[in-house]
Symmetry: C2
Subunit: 356 residues, 2 copies
C-alpha cells in the first residue's frame, strides 16, 4: 500500500478579476461567482481538494484573502460543508511569493509533515479525478522538490507562461529546465512542435520546510511573511496578518522570487481540463453552447445569433442578429465587445469606474 499524504490546501483568493467585470467587482471578485461551473469558482476549488482521495488526505484548507471578502469565503465554505483551517487576511495584495511563505509557515505550525498545495481560487479543473491522480503521483517528490503542475498544451496559447521540462525524476514528473514568459504566437507554435513544454498553471505542491528553505533566494519576502504571521491577530479561524510587516514585503510572484532560482523545481505533467478564466473569451471557449455556438448564462433571449457569450445577471440580455460577441450585463453595467477583444474589458472597466 502506498504511503498516505496529508495535504493542506492553501487557496489564494485575493484576486480582483478585473477582466471579468462587470460580474467580477471589487466587492465580489470573480472567484466568488458561478462562472463556467456549477458552484462558484472558489467553492469548486475548495470542494475539489477536500476529504480523502486514494493516498491523499486533505486537511482543512487555508484561505488567503482580503478582509472584505471574508463573508463570501465563510458563506461559500459553509455551503459545501468545509471548515477553514484558517482564513488569512492580507492587509494588502502582495503577490504569490508572500502568500507562499505565509502558507508554508502556517501549515508547518499545524503539521510539519503535511504537504502544502498552493492553488489559485479561480481556475477551472474539469477532470477532478485526473487532478487528484496527478497530486498523488507528485506527492512523493514534493519533499525534495517544489512541484508545479504543467498542463499539456493543446493549442499555441499566448496567454499563459510555459515550463520546459528537464530530466525525468519519476513517472510524469520532471525537473524544471526553464520557465518561459507568455510567448508570441510563433514562439508558442515552436514550443508545441518541439515538445517538452507545458503551461504553467500557477499551482504548487511542496513540503513547507523546503519552501521556506528555498526562499533563501528572496529572504526579505520570507522574513516579512514570518514577521507578519508572528505579529498576526488571531480570532477564531481568522488570522489578521500584521499590516506593517506584510505591506513592506516586495510584491513578487513566487515564480520569480523562488522557482526561477531554485534547483529544486519539478513539474508534474497533467491533462485535467484546466483553464485559467482570465477573460470572457476563455469562458466562451470552455462553456456549454447551443447548436449555434452561443454560450448563455442567466436571463437571455437569442434571435438569429451565433457564437456569442451572453450573460444576464439580474438583467435580461436580448440579442438579435449578432455574432462572435460577448454581452455581459449586471445591474451595474453592460459590456459589449467582439470575443476577440475580450481583453479590453479591463480598459472599459477603468474608463467606467474612473481609473479605479
Amino acid at each position: 500500500m502506498a504511503m498516505k499524504h496529508t495535504i493542506v490546501p492553501a487557496i489564494m483568493s485575493g484576486g480582483a478579476g478585473t477582466r471579468l467585470w462587470p460580474v467580477s467587482t471589487e466587492a465580489k471578485p470573480k472567484q466568488f461567482h458561478v462562472i463556467g461551473g456549477v458552484g462558484t469558482l472558489f467553492a469548486e476549488t475548495a470542494a475539489r481538494v477536500s476529504g480523502e482521495a486514494g493516498a491523499l488526505s486533505f486537511a482543512a484548507p487555508l484561505v488567503l484573502c482580503n478582509v472584505s471578502h471574508t463573508p463570501w469565503v465563510e458563506a461559500q465554505l459553509a455551503e459545501i460543508g468545509v471548515s477553514a483551517g484558517a482564513i488569512v487576511l492580507e492587509p494588502a495584495p502582495r503577490n504569490t511569493a508572500a502568500i507562499a511563505a505565509v502558507a508554508a509557515s502556517l501549515a508547518a505550525e499545524r503539521d510539519p509533515e503535511a504537504l502544502v498545495l498552493l492553488l489559485p481560487a479561480d481556475h477551472i479543473i474539469a477532470d477532478r479525478a485526473a487532478f487528484l491522480a496527478t497530486i498523488e503521483r507528485a506527492a512523493p517528490f514534493a519533499r525534495e522538490h517544489i512541484v508545479t503542475f504543467g498542463i499539456q498544451p493543446n493549442r499555441p496559447e499566448t496567454g499563459y507562461g510555459y515550463i520546459k521540462s528537464g530530466h525525468e525524476l519519476g513517472a510524469g514528473v520532471h525537473a524544471i529546465a526553464a520557465f518561459r514568459e507568455k510567448p508570441n504566437r510563433e514562439t508558442a507554435e515552436l514550443y508545441l512542435a518541439e515538445g517538452g513544454y507545458s503551461w504553467n498553471s500557477g499551482m504548487f505542491l511542496f513540503a513547507p520546510a523546503l519552501m521556506l528553505q528555498e526562499f533563501a533566494a528572496s529572504p526579505a519576502i520570507r522574513d516579512g511573511a514570518l514577521a507578519a504571521l508572528k505579529g498576526a491577530r488571531r480570532e477564531g479561524a481568522l488570522v489578521h496578518l500584521e499590516a506593517a510587516s506584510f505591506t513592506a514585503i516586495p510584491s513578487v510572484p513566487l515564480d520569480i522570487a523562488v522557482m526561477e532560482k531554485t534547483a529544486r523545481g519539478a513539474v508534474a505533467a497533467c491533462d485535467i481540463g484546466w483553464a485559467d478564466l482570465g477573460a470572457w473569451d476563455e469562458i466562451w471557449r470552455i462553456a456549454a453552447k447551443d447548436a449555434a455556438g452561443n454560450a448563455c448564462e442567466g436571463a437571455v433571449v437569442v434571435l438569429d445569433s451565433a457564437n456569442n457569450l451572453l450573460r444576464g445577471d439580474g438583467v435580461r440580455v436580448c440579442v438579435a442578429g449578432v455574432n462572435d460577441l460577448i454581452v455581459i450585463a449586471t445591474p451595474e453595467a453592460v459590456i459589449v465587445a467582439p470575443r476577440m477583444r475580450a481583453q479590453e474589458v479591463k480598459r472599459l472597466r477603468e474608463l467606467a469606474l474612473g481609473g479605479k
Copy 2:
C-alpha cells in the same frame, strides 16, 4: 392683420412604442421618455403647441391616453407649465378614428369656433417655427377641409405612407389626390422622381363640425365616440370615457375611416425636421453623434467603436470594437442588435416578456 385662429391641440398619447423597448414599457411608453430631444416626446409635443404664435392662439390641450398613464401626463404638463383642457381616458385603445371623433366633439363643446390640431405625442419636430408657420398657412383652409401635414420627402423611405397632392387650394396647400400605403423601395423611388408626393405625418387640422360631418362615411365610429363622451364620468380635467360604448367602436385609423373617403381632404406641404421615431435606427439617424458616428445617451463608455446607438438608462453601457449596433440598456433588460435590424426589437420584447 391676419385673422386670429384659436387652435385646440388634441394630443394622442395612447401609443405603446413596443419597438423602443426596453426604454418604452407598458408602464411608461416611449412618449413619456426623453428620446432624441431635450424634454420627453410628450412634453415637447405639448410645449410646441402652447401659448400665442403669430396668428395662432393655442388653447389648453386635450390629451387622450390610457388611465394608467395619467400621472405621467399630469407631471410632464406641470413641468412645462401647461394645464390640460381635458385628459381623456380611453378604456381601451381604439385607434385614431375614434380619438378624432372624441376630440372633435369635446373641442366643439368648449369652443365651436376653434380648430382642432390632432397630433401624435411621439413625433420629433425639430423646426418649431416652420411647423407653426405651416399651421398658420393651413388654418384658413381648415374650415372647409380636413388638412393633413405632408412632409417633404428627402429619401425613398419605405416606413411611411405617402400622400399624393391634387390641385392647389392656396400657397402650399393642395387637395389630396390619393393616399398611398407604405411603398416598397422601388415605388418610393418612383414617388420621389415623379414629385407631388409627401409623407403622411398623421397630424390633422380641422374644424370640429366638419370632422364630425365627414364621419358620415363611418357613422358607427362617430356615434360610438359621442356616446362614450356623453356617458363619460368627469372628474376635474379627467374625462373617463364610458367603457361599453367606447370599446364597441371599430378600431380603425382616421385615414381609412374618413380621409380616404372624404372629398374634403387637403395636404399642407411642410419641411419641419419631422421624424416618427418608430424604431431605434430612426433615433440614431436623427440623433447628435460623436466624430465616429456614435449617438450616446445616458451612461456610456465607448472604445474604438463607430456608428452605434448607445443608451444606458440607469445601467452603464460599455462597448469596445463594435460598429453599427444598437445597445439599449435599462435595469430591466439590454438589447443588442445591428441598427439595420432595429425592427426586430418588437420580437425580442415578445420573447422576453412571454408574448405580452
